[in-house]
Amino acid sequence: MLTIAVAGNPNTGKSTIFNLLSNGHAKVGNWPGVTVDKKIGEVKHKTFNAKLVDLPGIYALDAWSEDERVARDYLQSGEPDLLINVLDCTNLERNLYLTTIFQEMGVKMLVVLNMIDVAEKNKIIIDLKKFENELGSPVIAVSALRSNSKERIINKIMELQNANGKTANICPNSTDDELLAEWRYKRIENVMAASVKKGISPYVQNDKIDKIIMSKYFGLPIFLLVMYLLFFLTIELGGLFIDYFDMAFGAVFVDGVRYVLESIKMPEIIIAILSDGVGSGIQALSTFLPIIFLLFFFMGLLESSGYMARAAFVMDRIMRVMGLPGKAFIPMLIGFGCSVPAIMATRNLENKRDRILSVFMVPFMSCGARLPVYILFATVFFPENADVMVFALYLTGIVLAIATGLLLKGIVYRGSLAPFIMELPLYHRPSIKAVTLNALFRLKAFIKKVGKLLVPIIAILGLLNSAGLLEIIGKAIVHVFAPMGVSSNNWQAAVALFSGLFAKETIIGAFSSLTSTPMQEAFNNSSAAAFAFLLFVLLYVPCVAAVSAAAREVGFALVILQALYSTILGWCLAVLFYQIAEGNSLPSIVTAAVLLPVTVLGVVLYARKSGRFWS
């Protein structure tokens, strides 16, 4: 079968063309060795049938970023029979730079001038015959809004197949970076001069909106409002659906499976594995679906309306202090709702280093699952000032996130903040269909990749639970928590922490289901011990879902490093807090005071050692 690659600059409507040709159906994969999504679709039209591969949006093929490396390697692999180069008609000059590079590579190519309707509206006149002749590659002008575009592109492709493809033979005359770029742009200027009449600036309308949205005084407040809405709609609206998903999937995959298996007299062990194990794993996975879909839906709206880039433009100055680009604000914010979508949102960051830094910082943001734990403990132990205690925990998390960011930025990745090169796209009315398709695509990726880890892990934990092994585990590990004020007869607290690995909101449920002792008594009426416990709840390993999501983004080694780092950090801080406030056990204080810097040093050394491979 014919293989067609689709390439072009970012913001050229490349994915619109991809969706148009593949009828919106795409399979998700990964490019080898990198976390860049690989989209594969199929073009079917009458007798025509081809495989379509979407390349990441790029400006050149200098292997500067993962994206460019992926694109270059794929084109050189010889797999694609034809390249569709998508260009934005309203920004031809810059877009043509990539086209000239493809020509120099000698790949067989069809140049698709996209958004011809916008160009016509802006009175940009392109003489296609002359343009094609000057450029030396076959050209077609389309608009995704026009119904015949798909057919026209396919007809053109078939024409090229039959014509046995002549490729432009263009040889640059220099190997010097500057001279080569100048030579390419000279060529482009000639093509433009011969065939394109410049229209009115597309920025006139745009500037009117930007005058308010990006103004000195309103820029930041508007940004904060938009972010608040993003957070509110994702977490609150998504939260409304969580219980329904939980109940529906629980009814089918846990209770339903059990009912069916019991009715056909399956042995209990098999029922337990399929129902309490796999079933509850699927149930846990399902609770993330509404939030993740909504997050990507709203992020898609921001992205395609043109605001996302502006948010990054506004926040860059502030986030840079932590060594992160402006865009990294979004995962941090979403982290207060749920770490899982927050970690997935790090994929929008261009550099691996920024993604790693964010993945280290996100879990310190107190997620929605931790809040009920805080509130319950705080109202029991600090009835007078529960709100202050909860706020103190949130603040501790934020401070530790920033400290972690500064630590990693200052020591591990010093000076390697990627240069900021970005385009603020024109404001654009988003297509709800395209945004929905994209959100569903990301949701599918989540189910496939994260579910693969999450379901088995939860299945194993669920089995341990139903086999009554949790009590044994709790009694075994409770001693580890003794220095932070958890006495050894309070093993239920240890079990609660263990079950918190599934999802942190289960901590309360697990605790109260195991003991009828009032909470004050269990913690020996010590509010210091209770606060230390909450500190640990804030900091120890994020739930398995977050760990699975992070493993997908940055790999297992770093996720284990992060989990160890945050857990030991949590233990040390909880111990220091409890012992200084109440326990006064010198050996415990010394242990924590020594372990803390050792851990930090360990993380720094490891990250530094492996850091060479990430840049």
Binding site: D62, W64, T90, K198, F313, D316, R317, F420, M422, L424
Partner: protein, 77 residues
């Protein structure tokens, strides 16, 4: 008079003169690919509400850069 991009104000027009010799090759390749070749005219159009980054218009499109990073480009007004 040759000066750096970061000293320009919104509305200012300038022409790219040369790159600082110590510019990182990756960054330079990127800027070149984006059309900031010698002799290219550009206009500063926007400054972020917090003063940085800035947005310039060249070759019929617009590009955002951080002030201190863009200092590697000398230009003349």
């Amino acid at each position: 008079m040759s000066q750096s991009i970061s000293s320009l104000k919104p509305g200012d027009k300038a022409v790219v003169e040369r790159y600082a010799p110590d510019v990182g090759r990756d960054y330079k390749l990127k800027l070149l690919a984006l059309g900031l070749t010698k002799g290219t005219e550009f206009t500063v159009v926007k400054v972020s509400p917090l003063g940085d980054p800035i947005e310039i218009e060249l070759r019929g499109y617009r590009l955002s850069l951080r002030r201190h990073e863009a200092e590697v480009i000398s230009c003349s007004q």
